[in-house]
């Protein structure tokens, strides 16, 4: 039963998103003011166009907030359920770790090794595969990509110690 419980309602999600738009629009307006959003002698200043863009974002965000407050029954519906959120996090968190593994200030694993680990983790954790399936698939896919990008199309991707050991850097 826990799984079906809503994390937040549609109304809250609508309000948060519109609030973010409101802040973003205000930020755009503020920065455009700083640059000058008026008419200079030689034409419109740098902030002239963005200022009105920001203004339109603020106005529409306000309208969305007004609508969200009057949503009625639909506003009580679940934006996301706990079970769904858990599924999304089991994908999002490994993805974030994966991107961090490719290159970070302390250690560069390179995109090929990080991707192979990422695919292997996914197959193990979500697919419950045996290693006899995981190893050939994860390594095979990345070897294919390696040849495609580094050899055929000559588009260099981030590489780490393993590629260096084979003479690619």
């Amino acid at each position: 039963m826990e799984e079906k419980k809503p994390v937040t309602s549609m109304r809250v999600a609508e309000l948060v998103m519109a609030g973010l738009f409101l802040a973003f629009g205000a930020l755009v307006m503020w920065d455009s003011r700083r640059l000058g959003s008026a008419w200079a002698e030689d034409g419109p200043q740098a902030g002239y166009f963005p200022f009105y863009i920001g203004l339109l974002i603020v106005v529409s965000a306000a309208a969305i907030i007004f609508r969200a407050l009057n949503l009625g029954e639909k506003g009580r519906e679940a934006f996301v359920e706990w079970g769904q959120l858990r599924m999304i996090l089991t994908v999002m968190i490994p993805t974030l770790i994966y991107v961090a593994l490719i290159r970070n200030p302390w250690f560069d694993l390179g995109i090929y090794v990080a991707s192979a680990i990422f695919i292997a983790f996914f197959m193990r954790h979500l697919g419950k595969y045996g290693w006899a399936r995981i190893v050939p698939v994860s390594i095979g896919v990345m070897v294919f990509f390696f040849f495609m990008f580094e050899v055929w199309f000559k588009v260099p991707l981030p590489k780490g110690p393993l590629e260096a050991a084979f003479g690619f850097s």
Partner: protein
């Protein structure tokens, strides 16, 4: 018939072995992209765009590059029908209407007939739209050569107003998404004054937001997250497509010539307007249901119910390239990515393209004819292969697609920051989808932002800051007027229905 002559020249350019091989590769990749969750026409083309950088630098290479990318687009358009019919999962938004009769047909064991009907009518729709492009676009381009900055800005205004006017939900969400696209496009160095805008001293923001990153994240990661949330498992009908079924279906199809013509017309008209493919497919389905004498049986598995939306969607998807080529205004996110490709390869989209890069334009138009023929052959012969790809478990397909998105984002500028940004756009895409914010206006605004702003500034300079520039002559005044009408259409239609309600009550 100067167009025929130019077209023949185009065929001469497009009909090299290398370009034909690219067409086959592009269409096959495109169908694959259209079939896979998380990859569609827009982000598929966006991911593959960086691979064409070196190709486009060779002489005539830009034509080969656009042939490859546009064929991926045709392939993706074909591919959307496969998942709709076999798995009841629309691969692309404009394939939703195809599921109405396509999936019931495949449940009745007539998947082959549904697929043949879908592919053939896609082909017919595309062909009508390409003929339209062949003969209309030179006329529009010639006409648009006289355009100055105010005219161009009014065309941009028309494009973006169309999004607001045709929005399904509240127009404010469309405006918020669109204006955020414009704001993101403004980030970085202002090309006119050289000032830094919206960078807040972050060196990463100096070069601004690349729309390719946004497209890959919004459409790719966002889609994967939505799929995972539904805990989706593919359960589909078997796909067998033998020559006998194909020929039997082809014998049946001419009966529906009225539906084909009607749907092609709807598709071409709606395709020129941005975001038109999806409404076009629904409109064509609705019209066919209303007009056909078999109408009440629609939804139970009628071949005609597949013909109508597929013809319209493919006609609209193809016609979306018409404003892209002639005016530099893309009609769909995928057309926007193709337009971005032109800019990256150093070509200036717009009316001058027809004069300065005639080889490129006519090569592309000729390749549309050939690419769709190639596409029809590929999909008719390879359906079992593509359907088997959908049987690869999600636990393998999902991480591979995420890896492809990461690689695609990195290759745009060779920057890890872009990969993080792509993940961020992915989360945004998920929230956008759940809260019914449209993504296409954001992408189009991000692509066109700088050009729209430039034309706005130049018009303002010409008129010394007076908005009267957009009503200065009948041409620009008409375009602006239509744009404003579309922009306020949600309000106007509400007022009309209010007035009607009152008169009928009183």
């Amino acid at each position: 018939m100067q167009e025929i002559q130019s077209l023949m020249g185009g065929f001469a350019i497009a009909m090299t072995w290398f370009n034909l091989a690219l067409m086959f590769a592009g269409v096959t990749l495109g169908v694959l992209i259209g079939v896979l969750p998380g990859l569609g026409g827009a982000n598929g083309v966006a991911i593959l765009l960086p691979l064409t950088f070196s190709m486009a630098q060779q002489p005539g290479g830009a034509t080969s590059a656009i042939i490859l990318l546009s064929c991926i687009y045709w392939g993706a358009l074909f591919g959307g029908a496969i998942t709709s019919i076999l798995f009841n999962i629309p691969g692309e938004p404009w394939s939703v209407a195809t599921t109405f009769d396509g999936y019931p047909l495949s449940q009745k064991g007539r998947a082959g007939a549904a697929l043949t009907a879908a592919f053939t009518s896609s082909f017919v729709g595309a062909l009508v739209a390409v003929v339209l492009i062949t003969f209309i676009s030179p006329v529009i381009a010639r006409f648009a050569l006289k355009f100055g900055p105010p005219e161009f800005f009014s065309v941009y205004l028309l494009t973006f107003s169309a999004f607001v006017g045709m929005a399904k939900g509240t127009p404010f969400k469309t405006i918020a998404a669109m204006m955020s696209g414009f704001a993101l496009a403004a980030v970085g160095i202002d090309t006119v004054t050289g000032q830094l805008r919206l960078t807040f001293d972050f060196p990463e923001l100096l070069k601004g937001f690349d729309f390719l990153i946004a497209v890959i994240g919004l459409f790719g990661i966002g889609e994967i997250l939505l799929t995972i949330e539904e805990g989706l498992e593919f359960k589909g009908a078997q796909a067998k497509l033998n020559m006998k079924v194909v020929i039997d279906t082809w014998k049946e199809l001419p009966k529906y010539w009225r539906t084909s013509i009607r749907s092609s017309a709807v598709g071409c008209l709606m395709g020129i307007v941005p975001g038109g493919a999806t409404p076009a497919s629904f409109m064509a389905y609705g019209l066919a249901k209303k007009v056909s004498k078999d109408g009440e049986h629609f939804g139970t598995g009628k071949v005609e119910g597949v013909v109508a939306p597929e013809t319209a969607a493919h006609a609209a998807g193809t016609a979306a390239l018409l404003p892209m080529l002639t005016l530099g205004v893309p009609g769909s996110p995928t057309a926007a990515v193709l337009l971005g490709g032109l800019l990256i390869w150093g070509l200036q989209p717009g009316p001058l393209l027809f004069v300065e890069q005639a080889d490129f334009v006519w090569g592309l138009i000729a390749s549309m004819y050939l690419g769709n023929i190639v596409g029809l052959i590929v999909v008719l012969t390879c359906v079992p292969l593509f359907a088997s790809i959908l049987r690869i478990p999600f636990a393998i397909i999902a991480p591979v697609i995420l890896v492809i998105c990461a690689i695609g984002a990195y290759t745009v500028h060779g920057s890890m920051f872009d990969v993080w940004l792509m993940v961020g756009f992915g989360i945004l895409g998920y929230v956008f989808k759940k809260l019914d914010y449209p993504m296409a206006p954001l992408v189009l605004a991000l692509v066109l932002g700088d050009r729209a702003e430039d034309s706005f500034r130049q018009s303002m300079l010409g008129s010394q800051g007076s908005l009267s520039a957009f009503f200065a002559n009948p041409l620009v005044g008409t375009i602006t007027g239509v744009a404003l009408l579309l922009l306020f259409w949600p309000l106007i239609s509400k007022l009309i229905s209010l007035a009607r309600g009152r008169s009928s009550a009183g």
